[in-house]
Symmetry: none
Subunit: 417 residues, 2 copies
């Protein structure tokens, strides 16, 4: 099934806002063998929105529009779609009631214009939006689904996951199996070298390398008309791929590094404290992204100054003087200090140079030391990252979590593919 | 002048590669009076590239295509453009010589297929590519410029800066002025009510409301043929808009909340410590996103457990018992504790319920208390956020930084529009 995505918004066309909705949708749908054949972006103009929809309907099997469903005068999608499809807008009492109930629940004063969001093209199915006032809409027009989603990313993502993906999956009629193996601590080129031509033995399968701050995800999508054959190929691909890259896999599917670190801590009945310098709180933030992290996360120290390292963690001033604040010795003392001062089983220490200033010949920008301390012993590693300040900090946080995971699971701290 | 940009590539359509070329071009051109009216992405299929070009020529005043100029069989742009415009490809000896000289200079072995890049549609002007083998091409077809650029970002950016932008600037003759006012602590609907029909008095101007976690950005773009008139309208729009929404503006342009908090601290020669519970390190992370934050950020305490709040910050166990860890009293004690224990001038305390668990009738998920303490006194506020765990944490961090900014600048802690 080939669909078209239409993104609506002047802010996207001007290049100032990155269109994360498009990438989210394309990736979620590709995993279901729904292929995005065309992507069009138009500004907040009813005529152009209508024109883009007409053209999309000529060539695509389904059309998804995102954006322009808000209550302000530059939100024109509803009107443009109504005109183009010849389906007048009608006030939907049920939607209006939901909007009013939502406003009441929040105790907010919202202007009457919010109620324009209850104007729905005749014949549209309403997909309730639990996170905002503009519902998702499905119109099956001359046999083709036309789907309208709000542009606010978290509202769009929730509606896409709950409604759009399952609906289009069913509509496409293809059998699809997909899985993702998440790797950290290696490079795309090394993975490619290791995996080589093996995927050629998986009929109907596509292997995608998806690199990010967090590592490289390997996503396999197998599709075909025969469910049994698709399942069998997917099973074989899973076994082969998992064996090939086992040393660098940290999770599967959408499971995150902070999820698996949390699982390891819960299993071992260990609690965690972290001490951070260059990551400035990002490791603690990642850990506490997980609901219920309070079961194992006790506290974090963001020791940005040397004084804080000494006072809060008991790092020796002499160690900072002898080796520098960015050193293996200081990282190790931060880890043991965090663990002892918090009175918990596991401590992580991170210190490094995120840049753009502060690098030297011996310790260029991107030099990061991570250490971990627990009843299992002490461990540590030096890393050399490249990229911007933001990239280096994100990579350092991921590396710190991965090092803790490896330490807790008794795995080698430096994986070899 | 309204142009269309066509991005070519399966990797972009799948959502796996972010189209940085489009954003670069759109921003560079907008600054030079050239507006992107449409953006289309198609895959590596000659027919779809040709179709996209035909449609673009119907509506846009110029078309820029990026990608698909390489030497591999899936690079089909040259062929598709030649067919669509009825201008057969011809081997251009001068381009061939340049490609051969380049390969020789690099001492690299490249396949003979590289020479297909010297096949140029008849009548095209060649813009040499100093960083790669595929030159940029300009074809003026029935009076409309059609520009072909390689997809490799640094090659595209160099050609855009050297050739595309100056060429289209000259061609367009339009003048554009743009500015952005960033607001926090209010809602899009309230801003819209306040601003009302005022922008109708700005000829040639468009006001965009851009909401995100961080608040609502107001971006005004004014364009016209008369530079003096455009400047005058932009000046008036800036003054009027700034006056209308003054109480909620925290920055202009691309300046962030963490930037302005840092500026305030530097001006006042104050140093900062933060104590966080529900945000789990995110406030410290935001502060340290700014290069050079070590000049004013001393340390952060991520006091996730009650024990950590008592031990590290001196929060009274009795206050936690009497009011709960999520309370005005505890936020205030966290702020003063952070300030005192770090021995700095400013302390911020944040405590709340990020969810999805932990809410109650009196304190539902999204309840957050922020407090600040400094030589200017003590201040605090209660917030009620909605959304996912992630949204609530992001909003709480932004609110905490905004509260600190307001406190440091002597502004009311609860803005009234």
């Amino acid at each position: 099934m080939q669909i078209e995505i239409i993104t609506i918004g002047d802010e996207i066309l001007s290049g100032r806002t990155v269109d994360t909705n498009f990438a989210f949708l394309a990736r979620a749908l590709e995993a279901e063998s729904v292929v995005v054949g065309w992507h069009t972006t138009v500004g907040d103009t009813a005529e152009r929105i209508g024109d883009a929809l007409s053209r999309a309907l000529e060539r695509a099997e389904a059309v998804v529009l995102t954006g322009g469903l808000g209550p302000t005068p530059d939100d024109l999608t509803r009107k443009a779609v109504a005109t183009t499809l010849g389906r007048p807008l009608k006030l939907e009492e049920r939607v209006l009631d939901e909007i009013r109930a939502r406003i009441k629940r929040l105790g907010r004063k919202l202007p009457a214009s919010v109620e324009t969001q209850a104007l729905i093209p005749v014949g549209a199915e309403v997909w309730p939006n639990a996170l905002g006032t503009a519902p998702g809409l499905l119109i099956v027009h001359e046999g083709k689904p036309v789907i309208l989603l709000p542009g606010v990313p978290y509202e769009m993502e929730a509606l896409a996951t709950e409604h759009v993906v399952p609906y289009l999956r069913k509509k496409s009629g293809r059998q699809v199996e997909t899985f993702t193996l998440r790797t950290a601590g290696t490079f795309e080129t090394l993975l490619q070298e290791k995996i080589g031509a093996v995927p050629q033995g998986w009929p109907g399968a596509v292997l995608a390398y998806l690199p990010s701050y967090f590592g490289v995800d390997l996503r396999v999508t197998v599709s075909g008309s025969d469910a049994k054959q698709v399942r069998s190929v997917a099973g074989r691909a899973y076994d082969q791929l998992k064996t090939l890259v086992a040393p660098v896999i940290y999770a599967e599917g959408a499971t995150t590094m902070e999820d698996v670190v949390g699982e390891a801590l819960l299993e071992l009945k260990f609690r965690l404290a972290v001490a951070e310098s260059c990551t400035g709180g990002l490791v603690a933030k990642r850990i506490t992204d997980v609901p219920g992290a309070s079961r194992y996360f006790e506290r974090g120290f963001v020791t940005y100054s040397n004084g804080a390292k000494v006072e809060l963690l008991g790092v020796e001033a002499g160690a900072i003087e002898a080796h520098g604040a960015v050193s293996e010795a200081v990282a190790a003392q931060m880890a043991t200090g965090a663990r002892r001062k918090a009175g918990v089983e596991v401590g992580i220490g991170v210190t490094g140079i995120a840049g753009p200033e502060g690098g030297s010949k011996e310790k260029p920008v991107g030099t990061v030391f991570v250490a971990v301390s627990s009843p299992r012993g002490e461990g540590g590693r030096k890393y050399q990252f490249v990229g911007t300040r933001n990239t280096i900090r994100e990579r350092a946080a991921q590396a710190a979590l991965d090092l803790a995971r490896r330490h807790l699971r008794g795995l080698p701290l430096e994986p070899k593919l």
